[in-house]
Symmetry: C2
Subunit: 886 residues, 2 copies
């Protein structure tokens, strides 16, 4: 049997399916799947990835028989669409797109309107009755084809277009007439001849094979090769080519184009929700240049006519398709459609992006509707997305000075200073300011500014505009299409609906759930964690194995974390207590003491305060485990460094400025990260750790004795790199702890363990486990030492590393599993080898990052610990870990 | 058969032997060995380590039968020595010493003169005819026993002695009379009664068992337990107890004591060499308080009578023993002897410490004499010791203003400023000064000062004085017993033989090989690397497998290293070239450029200079491999940092001071060790590495083309932590290298590889090896990151860590095999897994440290690279590695 190279799709029948991604590429498989479930997809065919492989095997020759197969499939399209490729009267136009297994930048993307030439353009005029439309399509084709297929610099023709507009003295492309386009096309063809030495191809077959060859050729261009190398994609995979008939939503008033979500992507409500434009191209809806019309009256308060009113039959068909889609894909869909002369075509369907609130509601609803299982529901909510739900919203009782109203494009609330460009947003944010990015509309160039901003406000664009979609993905609050405001970039200001001027730096507040824009800063309230969220989290907790603790240093943080479901404290940093205003003086006195006696005097002042902290935290945690890390940072962190500060402190402490400065200088370190800190302080100044252990144990003994508490404090020694350090410090800690128990007449049990935060600790964890009852992986410092990368200094190159994909992600955000993770795994294995019941946890910031939590589950940690607000995220990720394993 | 607990030795017969260390401890086994080869050892017995084990098993009860065995063995001693334990007329006195398998601080050490009481002291008076001697021995016994056996604070009796001296108005113990000692003994006994509530034991049997019990008890004291814990010594090993009859060299003029070496420990010449004192104790010789007499006339120019003249029969016996010893131990011995009433006793023999020169000569001579094999000879020389031979000695043609002459105690030559205390020596050395430590005599408290000094000069003491022995061990030059000088600590000066005054800070020069002291600084010449040394190194090179390269950045260093036997360059640091005076301006211009064009202009000025460097180095290395590391340090290292320096540079460069300061500040890093350096510079500023690769390749191409060279440059990318960094930089390097080859019309092959100096590089070495043709382990940085320990900042705690044995050694000196070594091993294994023929080397400073070199051999590296002067050390260590494996 001859090998099959080409796979047809159209009119409800497809030779491929959604499962054939390897053969048809991602795009080809999706088109086949949509077709086969009965959606009206414009007919087309996919040239398989095997052709690409053959092509390169045979010195860039196509396999025998390919041409015939393509011709046969083209004929099928012609028949189905009632048009003919290259026909002067009723020509078929096609798009040609690449499509590999994985989406791959650097390859040829798309050529539209292929099949146009001086003759067929006449047919398009005849069919559409719109000469301007036809010539516009033709000139676009020449531009696109010359650039991506013929390899001409795109600026050359673009410049020619700009020159024409100057001659005509018009600003926009839309101001040019059919005659202008016709003149331009003639000019374009001349330029192509001059630049390339051959005419622009008029033969549609030549155009088609040119485009197909360009797709296959682009598989081996430098950018694609580099990308594959960086992402370990084998060259053998190859790319497919998709040829599909063109349909037009801009051929007249019986044409339209639109996008829709099968449920509300913002709230999750079961309402069919979308926007469309009559006589328009798809990009017109997304770009936000014209304000789109609603598809129905179920949502919003637009006064424009709805699709169910204007095109009722098409709308009815769309509703039917919506129902098919939700049943088939069992998830909310984001769809694109075009209506050409009253005929509906589906261009795309995919799982819709949604807010966290919507994700939770849709997941819970679909369980209730019997569409999905609880486990599937849990997997439907991205852990990171929860962040949106866990942050404050505007206080409903606070006064609001509403100055404008737009679309509630992405929920949440935010206050900040007004800025007008992405660069400024980033700059202000770096300086510690909270900003609101205000734009007429946003584009991909603004992404970094949107990241830096607290919220985004745009004057134009709908719920599916760039600003709205991106903001929802980021979990940022966004008010879009706010026509009430007039933005003046030049003057760096905007005016509200009353004409009041807001300048750069003025404070405003957005409510992304109502679309309101307010002057000044409006207070917020804590999020509600019940309802659908509560229901989902019950399922989550039933599924997960990994415990989730929190990093908390105060009774207040401890309470917040408990409310978020924390099951203990994994990291209580005692030095944070040292910094409090009334204590810092005693701490400095300790540091400045020249002898042991002086240090002991100062420590005696600190101990009652530390004890008080621990009492508060233990009470708040109600018997849950609490891991307390003894002093970690270098002592110079507690001293001032500028001359002014030193002078002030010297006066306050009644010591000479010179002596104080000398002490500060003597404590200076070249690489404080690798300096005299952590357990090294405990070794050189044992009295500091003794004081801390005493404070911990006194608090515990008092609670056990007087309040009937049940508590096992976990004393954690930081920065151990060699077991002998721990042996000495553990012996000291036990001595102090036992003495305290004796003094109180109690028998409070306690654990002594260590952070594993240096490569050497992981490498020698078998020895260290001899002295440690628990390990807590301090992956922040472990990442710094494993990479030899200072978090404080990485700013000059780390962004570039992430951008160039040298690092797949910032290793301080997502745990580097292949390097740092290897050490964590090694630490676990070696630790358990010595002490099978050793408690294992992680307390770096990775403990709240989903991919890292999943890794921690996989290697069998007992718990992760993270900041209070990330506790629910870690819980959900831990449940995902279980489900992904199955 | 009953278990045997006690092992006798004496009169040529011993029940134990040198091989029974586990049962008899180190000391007991040695005494048995000496006895059994026929040496006249004072008779005694060893209570085995099994008794210790039994003792602790049975709740501190001695095993049955022990008392009888001890009594029987004591009777044997009595018989052999013709004395009786506790006898009033002719009493046997014994010493009691602990002795475990490994020497162990914290345990009870020694009690001498045991058996003395108010009655037996009369017997000692009668036998010695010296009342003062007898009472002195008695009071010493009470002091020692009260302290180490009865546990009394040693200061109490010492204070009582001081009070007596004050009452008598004398300064030294030697000024006290027999009557004084008698009075003191009465007082001591009263004090013991008061302090302890029971009288000092008068019964010799009670004394003996008290001392034995104290030895066993000390096995479980806190210091011993801690020591065992830190050194992984099991408690089950236990300690032995040695009981040996006392002999006295200070009982009259027919008594003497001395120490000797079977060959000259300074030159290695085959001359029996030693010193003795008539009517003296062993410690008198070592302490250097009296100037000792020579044992013969073969050496030195002492005018004092020699032993061969004064005690010819004893000397003849000693020579006979010397010959037995060298045959038996097949090495030069360091012996201690005592003559009691004309009878010679051997107290100790051990392999003698020696200078490097002596070590080499003795080893080579012993091969010639047929005593040892070449392999043994190679093992006889400690690699680190060679250092002494590799440094300059005084220029024989230089003028010498000799101001004094002492003993040539440790060879070599040194100049420095005079200091009079160890603390000052250390302080001056920290300030960058070279110093000579001048002392009347030295003691163990002076060790740190001796380390810090270039050389040591003492006014008193012989060739075996503390100063002499320690200096030889350290490889420091030392002139001892220089009676020509008068040291005045108070005035901080010394006067020479002419009465000329030398004050603190004055420059002097020592010649440790002649004993001469010179005013001012005398020039030096390079060492001679032929003769015995050359002979030994030929054997070394025949044995070793590991190649030895050098770290060299200049043609001069390259030449020195070649002369020392380097087989290539393992690390050529290109940044050292950047610092040179005429280049630093261009480098700074590059750093201060705001754009790529500016940087390229500056780099164009640097490239000819870099190329010149490489031409010089390649020529010097004559085709041997040269590994060149591209720029590594952060750019701010090239800029000035103080305000004054910045102002000067700004003026010189014609830029504003403010702008320059701002640039310097913008380059500031919190942890430069972990900052924007190494390959991160190559990624962000590819033009810098491009320039360097071009310079390397141009130099290579020119030499190949014009001078017929055969050369394969090895281009090394530093600080890689992720394979993608290397993939990008390797591609860049290949592009530049290939273009250079094309320009020259050459086909110079080159390798591209990387440093493995970050934990992540070792952990992912399998991936990195895909892009690397060689690995060079940068163990300096790898140690810093693995330990999280900045070399620049470790001063505040690292010395304490080494002192407390938390770290067995400074990990920047000797490679930490269990932690850092694990990563090196992993890097090798993973690297070879991907690329079996990958070249592996090490270029950290560990490459010249013997234990690290042996480790590198074990894990199968291809080469080590070290500083030029350490190349012979590494060669020798590499040979040791082979021999130790066998």
């Amino acid at each position: 049997m001859a090998v099959k190279y080409v796979y047809f799709f159209g009119d409800g029948n497809a030779e491929g399916s959604g499962k054939m991604k390897n053969l048809l590429g991602g795009k080809g498989a999706n088109l086949a799947e949509m077709t086969s479930i009965g959606l009206p997809v414009p007919a087309g065919f996919t040239i398989s990835t095997e052709v690409c492989t053959e092509f390169y095997k045979n010195d860039r020759q196509y396999p025998a028989g390919l041409k015939d197969e393509v011709a046969a499939n083209l004929a099928k399209i012609e028949q189905m669409m009632g048009k003919k490729f290259g026909d002067a009267a009723n020509p078929l136009l096609v798009s040609v797109r690449s499509g590999a297994r994985a989406s791959m930048p650097g390859m040829m993307d798309t050529v539209l309107n292929l099949g146009l030439n001086d003759e067929t353009v006449q047919g398009v005029i005849a069919q559409s009755g719109d000469e301007r439309f036809a010539y516009d399509a033709y000139r676009r084709f020449i531009q696109m084809y010359s650039n991506v297929v013929l390899g001409m610099d795109g600026d050359i023709l673009e410049h020619q277009l700009e020159q024409l507009k100057e001659r005509r003295d018009v600003a926009n492309d839309t101001d040019l007439s059919a005659a202008d386009w016709k003149e331009l096309i003639a000019g374009f063809k001349e330029t192509v001849q001059q630049e390339l030495g051959h005419p622009f191809p008029m033969d549609p077959q030549e155009q088609l094979w040119g485009a197909v060859g360009a797709v296959f050729g682009s598989w081996m261009n430098q950018r694609a090769i580099t990308y594959r190398r960086l992402h370990s994609i084998p060259a053998e995979w190859g790319t497919a080519v998709n040829v599909q008939s063109m349909v037009f939503g801009n051929m007249g008033d019986d044409c339209a184009t639109g996008v829709a979500f099968t449920r509300d992507p913002s709230t999750g409500d079961k309402i069919f929700y979308g926007e469309f434009l009559v006589n328009a191209q798809g990009e017109d809806v997304v770009a936000g240049i014209r304000t789109p019309q609603p598809i129905n009256r179920d949502h919003g308060d637009s006064e424009l006519p709805a699709m169910e009113e204007v095109l009722p039959d098409c709308y009815a068909q769309l509703v039917e398709i919506k129902n098919i889609l939700e049943k088939h894909y069992r998830d909310m869909q984001d769809i694109e459609f075009t209506i050409e002369k009253h005929k509906l075509y589906m261009l795309q369907t995919r799982n819709g992006k949604r807010t966290a609130k919507a994700a939770v509601k849709i997941a819970v609803d679909m369980v209730d509707e019997g569409l999905i299982s609880k486990e599937e529901a849990v997997l439907r909510v991205e852990p990171n997305q929860l962040d949106q739900l866990l942050h404050p919203s505007l206080d409903p009782d606070a006064e609001r000075d509403v100055i404008a109203k737009g679309l509630p494009a992405s929920p949440g609330a935010a206050s900040g200073e007004v800025v007008f460009s992405a660069d400024e947003a980033e700059e202000f944010a770096k300086g510690g300011h909270k900003v609101i990015l205000v734009r007429v509309e946003t584009s991909p160039e603004d992404i970094h500014g949107m990241h830096a901003a607290q919220g985004i406000l745009t004057a134009r664009g709908g719920m599916t505009s760039h600003a709205a979609v991106v903001a929802r993905g980021m979990g940022k609050c966004c008010v879009a299409g706010c026509g009430d405001i007039k933005v003046d970039y030049k003057a760096q200001q905007f005016t509200d609906r009353a004409g009041k001027v807001f300048k750069k730096g003025d404070m405003i507040t957005l409510d992304g759930s109502t679309g309101e824009v307010m002057a000044g800063k409006v207070p917020t309230v804590d999020p509600e964690l019940t309802g659908d969220f509560g229901k989902l989290m019950v399922w989550v907790d039933d599924i997960r194995r990994l415990k989730v603790r929190t990093n908390a240093d105060t009774p207040h943080d401890s309470k917040v974390a408990r409310d978020f479901g924390a099951e203990g404290i994994g990291l209580c940093r005692t030095e944070h207590m040292f910094f409090e205003a009334e204590r810092i003086m005693a701490v400095r006195e300790m540091i400045l003491s020249e002898d042991l006696e002086g240090r002991k005097r100062a420590l005696a002042k600190i101990i009652p305060m530390q004890k008080g902290d621990f009492l508060g935290i233990f009470r708040e945690m109600k018997g849950l485990p609490v891991t307390i890390r003894l002093l970690d940072p270098p002592l110079h962190e507690f001293l001032p460094h500028t001359d002014e500060e030193i002078a002030a402190l010297a006066k306050e402490m009644n010591v000479s400025e010179g002596a104080l400065k000398q002490k500060v200088e003597s404590l200076h370190e070249f690489n404080p990260m690798l300096g005299h800190r952590g357990c090294r302080l405990g070794i050189t100044f044992p009295e500091i750790y003794d004081m801390q252990v005493q404070a911990i144990m006194e608090a515990a003994c008092e609670l056990v004795k007087n309040e009937g508490f049940d508590i096992v404090p976990e004393i954690m020694i930081p920065l151990v790199g060699e077991v002998k350090e721990l042996a000495i410090l553990r012996a000291n800690a036990c001595r102090v702890a036992d003495a305290t128990n004796e003094r109180y007449g109690t028998a409070v049990t306690y654990l002594v363990g260590t952070m594993i935060e240096l490569p050497r600790a992981a490498l020698t964890a078998d020895a260290i486990a001899e002295e440690a009852e628990f390990f807590s992986f301090g992956t922040n410092d472990l990442t710094q030492t494993t990479y030899g990368l200072s978090r404080d200094d990485a700013g000059k190159f780390l962004p570039m590393y992430v951008e160039q994909e040298i690092y797949p992600e910032d290793p301080f955000v997502a745990l580097d599993q292949s390097g740092v993770g290897q050490l964590v795994q090694m630490g676990c294995d070696k630790g358990r080898q010595t002490r099978p019941d050793i408690k294992l946890g992680i307390c770096g910031e990775h403990g709240g990052e989903p991919s890292s939590v999943i890794f921690c589950h996989k290697i069998g940690l007992d718990y992760v610990s993270c900041s209070p607000f990330r506790v629910p995220i870690a819980r959900l990720a831990a449940a995902h870990a279980v489900l992904l394993e199955q």
